[in-house]
């Protein structure tokens, strides 16, 4: 900033010197306007040219520096300092020379803007030196983030126009519009919607009938069917607040979180495994899933929910819940193999966090600015790295979820056990050593016999006489322990591996006496280890540390030649209580591919998205008031900044999601994208009203839902039709009826179980593995997935099913379960024949149809008429029509006769088979899996 100030003063001085020789008209026009143009003024105009004449140097022209302007492009110099009239830049932007710049319709510079450029050139075209300018200073002080200019990068300057984008302006709370119809005045939402319908000439649907409403509420809020008795009770409840009571009851149901938590899990790309080759289990991911379900059930204020996920460990008083919340960082796709050989992975994981956090909480694709300033939105590459710096300290860290005393006691016992067993292990090793040596020798000899002659010669050649090539060969042979054929043998079953999974065939036999000694020692160790406490529950959490120094994991073994990088620092992975902690330095544009190149870039300090700061600057760290927990506090600052009411995006983004989860489509139909590539809100006044209301109601999700659910808008019939409406708004964008929509794959399965009466209600806990054919498992060589049977243990709700990135449960997958490697803003709803095949033939389906038939038989007795009615009440929450009754009676009769014609079943068995056929027809029906 300072630099610009000096420029301005100089320019002013220059003006007074030259003013005397200017013609009177020029003098007056200059004075009448304002002070002469500064570099900053000019930059705000010229940067519009940078998309082509920046890095891209279209036509050979680079307008980022004065030198670039003087050198010009294919058509010659762009500027002649002191002579605007001779400058090609001016001729182009004024249209004097074609093509007029900037290219594209509706984009010419205004006369004022051209005047600024002229003024600046006439005054010598100062600035734009391209020299190193203020880099990101420590931003903990006050003052805006200056645009950065460094060699090779000139940060796009964010201007007022950028800040005028609707989603960057604070939400405005307009009063609900006046509408005439009393039905639409009780709830502000209705007034906004009705007013929109009126202006478009759309007729709203009448209220849906009570059976439709209760089914809608159950499916929407709990993802389960309403019990037939609940439907009857509601239909017969004549009290004026029967509906409101039902809404409250369902919002209070634990099943509510099981459905609504799942929506959030889509946003945060939740899975139980890490994907890639090893597709490793994230052991305690499910605790995070339960945390999310619980947060929805308890109506955790959404601002708190945000901060806990981003920085639950950095709070002043963290709780088990807030620590578990940070598993948010751990459930993304991670390679988790040979990480230390591939430092670029860390930057990809950062990208995952930036992507998920900004899309998920703020609807911004900050990730698009990874390699260059954002092409469409005012988000710079430096903003991207500033954001990365906010996350840069975090490391994966499993945190015990137990009182400190228990943790300490447990650690102490482990230390004791180790101390007692260490000498025994040493003794075992001593006994085994000669055998290992001999075994190794035998093994190498055996291996060598398999090699061609020239290799054997190389090995047998004395080392000083070996050629360079032979040296390499020999080095290789001795070092290859990856190879199961030339392995350092483990000729015994180690005590810590009683099942012998690591055991490999030994080439030499251990002497019986030695073996006896050894076994006795093993038994002692086993005895001592019985003292070990059961493992404490833990969260797959995060905390601040130095990720370069993470403990070795799969494939990270230090071994010559395996490409593992070494780092300068050796201490410490995580700081100890009371230690001073600094986040490792982060360099601009670093990507881990080339350490030396990365180091040449400037260091990046944490910061926030420039476009939202507008001169103000929130703190870049909020260190918790806990001396025993050294941490940077950056993530907390980030979380709090995202969750503040002043952030114009956060409240809009979440109310839009809630709206979309209820109605199938958000007011902004691209919930992860509120930037220029997203869609505009269909009802911006309503969106803003809801956003401000959410903050006013203490960020309560349920309060917003209560408002929505109790609105006339929500209660409209879906089976409403008007020619005129369809012509004007065929896609029901303005909500003239409730949108009919299909439930998600998990819910398809849940309501099957709900109908059959077989739903295992077990709430939370470790995931279950739904039953899949072995042939599906065969496609994925790795991962945790276990083959199970169809049985009550696997008939839990879909939200508890194990989510393996590399092996999807076919029934969910076919019903559009999202990829879950990146944030999912809204699920696709496709209709494909493989869905039909699943519902027709999957064993789960057939089994549940049978259970449903048995349930109906039990509840309705043997009369077909009664059975059909019961079946409709259970599956569709309504009575069958006369037509349906007769259609289905005929069907049952036909199927019964068919069954009797096959084999020799009893009358009852044939009738049950027929009923099962009808049960499956209803489970397959459109009405069953659509929210109407």
């Amino acid at each position: 900033m300072k630099r610009f100030g000096i420029l301005r003063r100089r320019a002013v001085g220059f003006l007074f010197v030259t003013v005397g020789i200017l013609a009177l008209t020029s003098y007056s026009s200059l004075v009448a306007q304002k002070a002469p143009a500064t570099e900053k003024d000019v930059l705000q105009i010229v940067e519009r040219c940078y998309q082509c004449h920046g890095e891209a140097q279209s036509g050979g022209l680079d307008l980022r520096t004065r030198a670039g302007m003087l050198n010009g492009g294919n058509s010659g110099p762009a500027i002649v300092p002191g002579h605007a009239d001779q400058s090609l830049l001016i001729k182009r932007v004024s249209g004097e020379v074609t093509p007029r710049m900037p290219l594209g319709p509706g984009n010419p510079l205004t006369a004022d803007e051209v005047a600024v450029l002229k003024d600046w050139i006439d005054h010598g075209a100062a600035g734009f030196s391209g020299a190193a300018a203020p880099t990101t200073s420590d931003l903990r002080g006050s003052g805006p983030q200056p645009a950065v200019v460094i060699p090779g990068y000139r940060e796009r300057v964010i201007n007022d126009k950028d800040r005028q984008w609707w989603a960057f302006r604070p939400p405005v709370r307009n009063a609900a519009p006046k509408v005439a119809d009393a039905r639409w005045t009780r709830n502000p939402i209705d007034a906004f919607i009705k007013s929109g319908l009126e202006s478009k000439g759309l007729e709203p649907a009448p209220q849906a009938d009570k059976r439709t409403l209760i089914r809608r509420l159950y499916l929407d809020l709990t993802g389960l069917l309403p019990p037939p008795e609940a439907v009857e009770a509601f239909v017969n409840d004549a009290s004026p607040n029967a509906y409101e009571k039902l809404v409250d009851k369902l919002l209070a149901s634990p099943n509510y979180g099981e459905r609504w938590g799942r929506f959030w899990l889509d946003v945060v790309r939740y899975a139980d495994s890490s994907g890639f080759e090893y597709d490793r289990n994230i052991t305690d991911a499910w605790r995070y899933r339960d945390y999310v379900i619980k947060a929805f059930n308890e109506d955790k204020p959404f601002d708190k929910f945000i901060v806990e996920q981003i920085a639950g460990d950095e709070l002043d008083s963290p709780t088990n819940d807030s620590l578990t919340a940070t598993t948010y960082y751990r459930v993304g796709p991670r390679i988790r193999f040979r990480e230390k050989q591939n430092p670029s992975n860390r930057y990809d994981y950062m990208d995952d966090m930036i992507r998920t956090t900004f899309q998920g909480f703020m609807g911004l694709s900050v990730n698009c600015a990874r390699c260059h300033d954002h092409k469409f939105d005012p988000i710079t590459r430096m903003d991207y790295y500033r954001s990365m710096a906010m996350f840069w300290g975090y490391v994966d860290y499993d945190t015990p979820l137990a009182p400190k005393a228990d943790v300490e006691r447990s650690e102490q016992i482990k230390v004791e056990v180790d101390r007692e067993t260490a000498p025994l292990r040493a003794e075992i090793a001593r006994i085994e050593q000669p055998y290992r040596d001999r075994d190794n020798k035998v093994r190498v000899e055996a291996a060598l016999a398999k090699y061609p002659e020239d290799i054997r010669v190389a090995v047998r050649t004395p080392s000083e006489k070996r050629t360079p090539g032979q040296k390499l060969l020999v080095a290789q042979l001795q070092l290859n322990i990856d190879d199961p054929d030339v392995i350092i043998p483990v000729p015994v079953v180690p005590a810590d591996d009683p099942n012998g999974t690591r055991r490999r065939r030994a080439m030499v036999k251990i002497d019986a006496a030695d073996d006896a000694k050894r076994q006795a020692l093993f038994r002692k160790i086993v005895q001592i280890e019985k003292k070990l406490p059961p493992p404490l529950p833990k969260a797959n959490a995060v905390r601040d540390g130095d990720f370069w120094l993470a403990p070795d994991d799969l494939g990270d073994e230090q071994r010559a030649g395996n490409g593992r990088f070494s780092y300068d620092k050796t201490c410490c992975f995580v700081p100890k209580p009371g230690e001073h902690y600094e986040v490792p330095e982060l360099r601009f544009a670093a990507n881990g591919a080339d350490f030396e190149a990365d180091k040449k870039n400037v260091e990046v300090k944490p910061g926030f998205l420039t476009v939202l700061l507008n001169g103000k600057l929130p703190p870049a760290s909020h260190v918790p008031n806990r001396p025993d927990y050294p941490t940077s506090g950056r993530r907390r600052a980030l979380g709090e900044w995202i969750a503040t009411a002043e952030n114009p995006l956060t409240s809009r983004v979440i109310v839009n999601r809630i709206w979309g989860w209820h109605f199938g489509t958000g007011i902004v139909s691209t919930p992860n994208s509120f930037g220029k590539m997203g869609t505009a809100p269909t009802n911006p006044e309503l969106l803003d009203w809801l956003a401000t209301e959410m903050v006013r109601q203490g960020w309560s999700v349920k309060a917003m839902q209560r408002l929505i659910l109790n609105s006339e808008t929500y209660k409209m019939a879906s089976s409403f039709y008007r020619d005129t409406n369809t012509e004007k708004d065929p896609k029901n964008v303005y909500l003239w009826k409730f949108p009919l929509h299909r439930v998600e794959g998990e819910i398809v399965r849940d309501i099957m179980l709900s109908a059959s009466g077989q739903l295992n209600p077990q709430f939370g806990g470790k995931p279950f593995f739904p039953s899949i054919p072995a042939s599906v498992r065969d496609a994925q060589p790795r991962g945790e997935w276990q083959l199970t049977k169809e049985e009550p243990a696997t008939w839990r709700r879909g939200v508890y099913a194990y989510v393996q990135r590399g092996l999807r449960y076919p029934m969910f997958e076919v019903f559009d379960q999202p990829d879950l490697n990146v944030s999912c803003e809204a699920r696709n709803v496709s209709t494909v024949p493989t869905q039909a095949l699943t519902l027709l033939n999957n064993s789960f389906m057939l089994m549940q149809s049978k259970f449903l038939a048995e349930r109906v038989w039990k509840e309705a007795g043997p009369d077909a008429n009664e059975q059909i009615k019961r079946l409709y009440r259970i599956t569709l929450s309504r009575e069958p029509t006369r037509v349906e009754l007769s259609l289905n009676e005929a069907f049952i009769q036909k199927q019964r006769l068919y069954a009797l014609s096959r084999g020799n079943p009893s009358q009852d068995a044939a009738a049950l088979a027929a009923l099962m056929d009808l049960a499956q027809v209803l489970l397959d029906s459109n009405e069953f899996i659509y929210i109407g």
Partner: protein, 502 residues
């Protein structure tokens, strides 16, 4: 209901009935007859076995598989990807490197730090296989591909293909999805998204993986990523029904009962749809059941080799144990292409025990590559020959690739480690000119040298042959128009016939 839809009885028919739907979808009475409970056998007899042969399928414009026009005139309309899992050594198969003979067992120098996957870098190693030149084009082929060497003039080799990672899984993902990171749609997903399918009776994108097991990364290789799930690859199973849940388990029900259920379901769904005039998703779902029913007939027909002649079976090597498994896959691929399937991937090699079951020749180039080349050489040659004589090769792009090449230096003297810096891929058919040898790697085959072809270029080229511009084949996702080729991709001009980029 009438109060809600007063117009449902008015002059304008809005209710899309099943009958209307079939009529609209061009199925006419034939489709209705099908729906009205003709038995499956009758269906096949009535349509003389052609019902499954890629006739235009119903599904309506709502279907994600509805055929879509390409961006420009296509040369190919189907792709068969032959993926060699484990890493095919280019310098032991299609790249003859005399320098390796000259400098055998001496250190590799002047190429910077060599990073290998396992152990220490060894000295250079010559190929254990003999090379000869073949055909008009004079392509070099080693002795382990004796059949393929006879058709080199039908093939366009790219000897300068390259990837970015020496990790099996990441490179699998790169070749199959364009990115080493998970979450991107696979090539087959992009293509079915871009073109739809002409045969709705079969899946549009079929994967047949090695009978020994799945590849590195498993189903992530044929995932649809952020594209709708409808575009993911469908695995055809090697035993039993080719498609998961194709048939009901006899434990619970029978096909006859299922057929009756389908008809009842249609009636119930029609009753329901009548309450929702114009709700196209409901009629699409009604249609999807009819399609499923057709698939039950067509999928088993597609994999039934009974009608193939002995001569054809022998051409693919079905009569020899070593070539039977992959030969069957190749023959299935041809049958699927005939039936209008858009994208088929055959995978040779499994992750189970990769030194043995995949092309991952760390242990020994000689034994590993001899075995795997034998498994695929005759079947692939048979496939290309068969496609050609049936007139299908012109419109079918066959692509042969692997996740990376292998190192010119040895691993433990006899094996080779991973090398993403250079590899050979080839394309044939689908308008690709034969007899081409494009690009080279350096003298030892460590890095692509002349005209390097990164993965995005290969993908752009494949899309181009299908009439798709890789820059225009986009899908809006999370604020961005995503592409298979991200922000890169250049056509290989010798293949596409487009002007060479300056």
């Amino acid at each position: 209901m009438n109060e809600l839809n007063p117009s449902s009885k008015s002059k304008k028919p809005r209710f899309v009935s099943r009958r209307d739907f079939w009529m609209e979808a061009g199925m006419g009475i034939g489709g209705l007859a099908l729906v009205d409970l003709l038995s499956r056998d009758q269906l096949l007899a009535a349509e003389s076995g052609t019902a499954c042969m890629g006739s235009s399928g119903p599904g309506g414009a709502e279907s994600p598989y509805a055929p879509k026009a390409p961006h420009f005139k296509a040369k190919a309309n189907a792709v068969i990807s032959l993926f060699m899992c484990g890493g095919l050594s280019h310098i032991d198969t299609f790249q003859y490197k005399p320098a390796l003979i000259k400098y055998n067992r001496t250190p590799l120098e002047g190429h910077g730090d060599i990073i290998v996957r396992q152990g220490n870098p060894g000295p250079l190693m010559m190929s254990p296989f003999k090379f000869k030149q073949y055909g008009q084009s004079g392509a070099w082929v080693s002795e382990i591909f004796p059949h393929l060497s006879t058709i080199v003039d039908d093939l366009a080799f790219i000897h300068s293909a390259k990837g970015t990672s020496n990790d099996h899984t990441l490179s699998h993902l790169e070749w199959n999805t364009g990115s080493i990171l998970v979450g991107q749609p696979s090539v087959g997903s992009w293509i079915t998204y871009g073109l739809g399918t002409v045969n709705q009776n079969l899946p549009s994108y079929v994967v047949l993986y090695d009978g020994r097991g799945g590849p590195y990364g498993g189903p992530q290789n044929w995932a649809s990523g952020y594209l709708p799930a409808a575009y993911q690859g469908t695995v055809f199973r090697s035993t039993g029904d080719p498609v998961l849940d194709l048939m009901p388990s006899s434990e619970y029900t029978s096909l006859e009962r299922e057929r009756a259920r389908l008809d009842q379901l249609a009636k119930i769904n029609e009753e329901h749809a009548e309450r929702y005039p114009g709700a196209s998703e409901l009629s699409a779902r009604i249609a999807s059941y009819e399609l499923a029913y057709r698939m039950q007939g067509c999928a088993p027909e597609a994999v039934d080799l009974a009608s193939e002649s002995d001569e054809t079976k022998q051409l693919y090597g079905l009569n020899e144990p070593a070539t039977e498994a992959f030969g069957k896959q190749c023959l299935l691929a041809r049958r699927l292409v005939e039936r209008g399937v858009r994208f088929i991937q055959l995978i040779s090699g499994a992750y189970v025990n990769t030194n043995v079951t995949a092309w991952d020749a760390h242990d020994s180039i000689d034994s590993n590559h001899r075995q795997h080349a034998k498994e695929v050489d005759k079947p692939i040659t048979g496939l290309i020959t068969d496609l050609k004589r049936r007139g299908l090769l012109d419109s079918t792009l066959v692509e042969f690739h692997s996740e990376f090449g292998r190192m010119p230096i040895s691993q433990r003297g006899v094996g080779r480690d991973h090398n993403p810096g250079a590899m050979t891929i080839f394309m044939a058919g689908g308008g690709v000119p034969g007899g081409l040898n494009i690009g080279t790697s350096d003298d030892v085959g460590l890095n692509a040298e002349e005209q390097p072809v990164p993965v995005h270029d290969a993908h752009a080229t494949v899309l181009h042959m299908l009439g798709l511009d890789h820059k225009r084949l986009t899908y809006y996702f999370n604020g961005r128009n995503m592409r298979l080729t991200d922000v890169a991709g250049e056509l290989v001009p010798q293949i596409t016939g487009t002007p060479k980029k300056a």
